[in-house]
């Protein structure tokens, strides 16, 4: 290892990056831009669901009941429909996602103290949305039922309404939300976006940078020089790690300033773990670039092996507890899951090295492993 050669190589690489103005700008703009776009746009909340009502009863009671849905912020009322056939069409055409059908004699049944059936039709193409919608509908129906029961009890037994309410609901659930008291979805999303973006950008930069030399043939200058493989890799990758680390810092600051996510953890540990992660994802790019010969293949393989795990198997959109054993194995064998936990717990739970050292250790092992593979795959005497 000759430090002078490493520095010279790093300096050469840095100049090459800086001189490609568009590439240099994109290297810094892309992460910030993605952070802003996803921060504002990527939300798993289920709100403003377009819905329609078919009211066969047309009484004040049925209108009152429908109004419970209309006034809810979760639903976006699109109007009354004439019959179920219209609903068919509206659902198939994505005009509405939920429909409420109130059958005839709704009012009559309720005032006689009998249960009144209603029908709720939900578009099930997106199971998560359907599941959440079902939760909203059940909550509204439960509230209406409890209110009706309390009123019936109050008139039948002659007790005050407040007491009747307590008697029809003997157990009351009080929910306390921990770590994210007002359940802001941006608080859970923004930290994980750091994980997502730092999984995408460094491998791309690195893979393209290394393969560029292979494809243009300038790698033969390296092959024929006195530079050793280790020196080449260190010098080549240093600028990319540096750029990515700077990007990580910018994203962290964006989380704190633009999205106002509280940071409760240990900044020192977080910085250290993040640097390991950046080295790790840079290593991803390195290994890919060693395996392929063309930039085209490097670009496509990098995007498939980074985007899909970072989106699907990292806990970003999909709960890790819901993964099947096979998918869970994939999640555990890739870095995003570990860093996802570090980033979320550092921000929201105030965790530090004491809780998260195993995850950081896995990442470090990963980084060492990737660089070792890259080192072994790099040969100054290519076969062909």
């Amino acid at each position: 290892m000759n430090l002078k050669r490493i520095v010279a190589l790093a300096w050469k690489e840095w100049r090459e990056i800086v001189r490609d103005r568009l590439f240099f700008a994109l290297a810094f703009i892309v992460p910030t831009m993605l952070m802003l776009i996803f921060g504002f746009g990527l939300t798993l909340d289920v709100e403003n669901l377009p819905f329609a009502v078919v009211d066969h009863d047309r009484t004040p009671a049925s209108r009152d009941y429908a109004y419970r849905f209309i006034s809810s912020r979760y639903f976006d009322f699109k109007g009354y429909a004439d019959d179920e056939r219209t609903i068919d069409r509206l659902l198939a055409d994505n005009q509405v996602r939920v429909a409420l059908v109130i059958p005839p004699r709704f009012d009559e049944r309720l005032s006689r103290g009998e249960p009144a059936p209603v029908q709720v039709i939900i578009d099930g193409t997106f199971p998560m949305r359907a599941q959440t919608t079902q939760g909203y509908v059940a909550a509204i129906n439960a509230a209406v039922s409890a209110e009706n029961m309390a009123q019936a009890l109050s008139t039948a037994r002659g007790v005050p309404l407040a007491e009747a309410r307590a008697r029809v609901q003997p157990v009351k659930l009080e929910v306390r939300y921990l770590y994210n008291q007002s359940i802001k979805s941006i608080w859970s999303m923004a930290p994980k976006l750091i994980m997502l973006i730092m999984m995408l950008s460094p491998p791309f930069l690195t893979a393209l940078g290394v393969v560029r030399e292979k494809e243009s043939g300038s790698i033969f200058n390296i092959y024929s020089s006195t530079v050793s493989p280790g020196e080449f890799l260190l010098g080549k990758l240093a600028p990319y790690v540096l750029i990515s680390a700077a990007n990580w810092f910018i994203l962290w600051m964006l989380c704190l300033s633009v999205y106002q996510v509280p940071f409760k953890g240990d900044p020192l540990f977080f910085t250290l773990a993040s640097l390991i992660y950046v080295v790790c994802t840079t290593g991803f790019g390195l290994v890919i670039s060693m395996l392929v010969q063309t930039q085209v293949a490097a670009m496509i393989i990098t995007s498939v092996v980074t985007i899909i795990p970072a989106v699907l198997y990292s806990g970003l959109l999909l709960p890790l507890s819901s993964l099947s054993p096979g998918a869970s194995l994939i999640a555990h064998s890739l870095p995003p899951m570990y860093y996802g936990r570090i980033v979320t717990d550092c921000f929201l739970k105030g965790a530090g090295a004491a809780e998260l050292w195993p995850d950081a250790l896995v990442l470090a092992g990963y980084a060492v492993g990737l660089f070792a593979i890259g080192y072994l795959l790099f040969s100054k005497r290519p076969k062909s």
């Binding site: 746009g41 909203y136 008697r167 157990v171 659930l173 009080e174 306390r176 393209l208 959109l317």
Partner: protein, 381 residues
């Protein structure tokens, strides 16, 4: 576009398309990867991943240890909840939540049963980890339903209302198109469309820039080929490859393994897929004409690809996005492709419902391709 309809023009298109296909097929690493993406990757995503809340770890802090408290705690059952043991004290339960060993803690107060039988209203506390806001919300919503049902039964017994029913709302919920909420249908289609999008942007962009970088584009420019005859065959070749990949995914994985219904017209689905690939390929070509080397294309395509993939509604419900974002989604071809693909495969929708999506997609495609051609002409014309 002169010569497009002549015999020589058609022959040139055919030859160029064949050249592009050969070039694609000879990149072995890429082809292996291409096949994996349309089979293995879709299989894993469809079989292993679910966006629903499953097996949320629930710990119980039972301060009563009575029949009633055990009855209530016992109602937190799979698939939504799984028991993560008992917490001995409030401190212990906080620790479980901190470490992520439990997602929620049900805290049943002392004298729960006694107070219930005396007719009091008893509060029960649920502490939920909301570091993931969606899961936190779902968990508390299910908990509320479970406790509500339990409370209802207790009230019925206590007030002697059992049997008569009372003026309640009895909602019959029907979930259409996917009645059992079978995740693989949704995840499989979403993943397929994601893979189609990835390749539709990356393949043509990469093929284009490679010619630019190697300088072979100059050779093509001195031939009698018009810019259209150079660009269009690339799109045709990629479209053929990707439509073939889609067919493999549909008939090799989603159909036989997951019993995807495919209710609508399949020819219509493939035609729309071809139209979509054409449109999206135009985006890739546009990125390629703007940039000089592959590194630039790589970064540019991420900028186009990532927002398109994540904000068109493939993985998240669009309704909750801010209005300006929803407006932007209207410019994403994937948004229309999603509507059409789900419409045809799951809902059995026909052209009478889908014509607007198809029209919007076609308009976007022609515009994008036109702009790309104009750029190309300015660079090399």
């Amino acid at each position: 576009m002169k010569g497009f309809f002549s015999i020589a023009g058609l022959r040139r298109l055919r030859v160029m398309t064949w050249k592009e296909l050969l070039q694609l097929l000879r990149d072995t690493a890429l082809m292996v990867f291409f096949l994996y993406s349309f089979t293995g990757d879709i299989y894993v995503a469809a079989s292993g991943v679910s966006m629903q809340l499953r097996n949320a770890a629930l710990a119980v802090l039972d301060n009563d240890r009575s029949f009633a408290s055990r009855e209530l705690a016992g109602r937190f059952q799979p698939p939504y909840f799984k028991h993560a043991g008992e917490a001995a004290s409030p401190d212990a339960s906080l620790k479980l939540l901190d470490r992520g060993d439990a997602m929620a803690v049900l805290d049943i107060p002392p004298r729960f049963e006694e107070r219930l039988t005396r007719g009091e209203q008893v509060p029960v506390q649920l502490q939920v980890d909301t570091t993931n806001s969606v899961l936190g919300f779902l968990a508390s919503s299910y908990a509320a339903q479970i406790v509500g049902r339990y409370a209802g039964e207790v009230a019925m017994l206590r007030e002697g209302l059992a049997g008569s029913g009372g003026p309640m709302i009895e909602a019959e919920t029907r979930i259409w198109y996917n009645p059992n909420q079978y995740d693989p249908w949704f995840m499989g289609i979403s993943e397929l469309l994601t893979v189609v999008t990835l390749f539709s942007i990356l393949l043509p962009a990469a093929a284009m820039v490679r010619e630019k970088e190697r300088g072979t584009i100059e050779q093509l420019m001195v031939t009698p080929l018009t810019p259209f005859q150079i660009l269009f065959p690339k799109v045709i070749a990629m479209t053929l490859a990707i439509v073939a990949g889609t067919a493999i995914a549909l008939f090799g994985v989603l159909g036989p393994v997951f019993d995807l219904p495919m209710r609508g017209s399949l020819p219509a689905f493939f035609l729309i897929t071809a139209l979509y690939v054409f449109t999206t390929a135009g985006l890739g070509l546009l990125a390629a004409t703007v940039s000089r080397n592959l590194a630039q294309v790589g970064m540019l395509t991420i900028v186009i690809l990532m927002p398109m993939l994540l904000l068109s509604g493939a993985w998240t419900p669009l309704e909750a996005m801010p209005p300006w974002m929803r407006l932007a989604a209207g410019f994403s071809p994937l948004h229309y492709y999603l509507d059409s693909a789900y419409g045809i495969l799951l809902k059995g929708a026909g052209m009478d419902l889908l014509w607007d999506s198809v029209l919007a997609m076609g308009a976007l495609g022609v515009t994008i391709f036109g702009v790309g051609m104009a750029w190309f002409n300015r660079q090399f014309g």
